[in-house]
Symmetry: C2
Amino acid sequence: MGNFIDWRNHAGSQPEKVHKATLWQGQHVMLGLNCLEPTQVQAVHAHAGADKFYFVLEGEGRFTIATEEREAKAGMVVVAPAGIPHGVINTGRERLSLLVAIAPGIK
Amino acid sequence: MGNFIDWRNHAGSQPEKVHKATLWQGQHVMLGLNCLEPTQVQAVHAHAGADKFYFVLEGEGRFTIATEEREAKAGMVVVAPAGIPHGVINTGRERLSLLVAIAPGIK
């Protein structure tokens, strides 16, 4: 994988589940792309021992972080500290695309 | 620090050096913001044992990663694997704002 990455080249959709692509896998961090079509859901889950954050590239969604639920649009960072349950639903009319980093870089 | 972060609230500039802000510090990753005014430079440097990536939020710059030099604009990801020399200069006419993640989260 190269060091200069255009996430738009990795965007996509699947009718029955979230589209996921790995953009870069380092020793200490995994960088990926998640694309959710309207109404698609990433169920609440947690990564033991790994910090995660989302950066909203386009669209909008409703994020759950522990017991907090909030809408976030393009340009927002949403953080899920290690072990904290998190998930998201696309509440908008357009695709919700998320840059996702997980450290250490479990898949 | 909260789990929902708008980087725009942390943007800024300094006449003599790159503006830096920490957006979030986790156990395994540090998430920051770097803002470079036109012609400002982040000198080439390396982080031993830590992966780093930039996401270009606004503006454009010329990045050095090891021996590669390339322009990157808003929307691009630029990766500096652990130990690899990297730096950037704002070659545009507007502010260059970069989301920066370093894992593990050294400062």
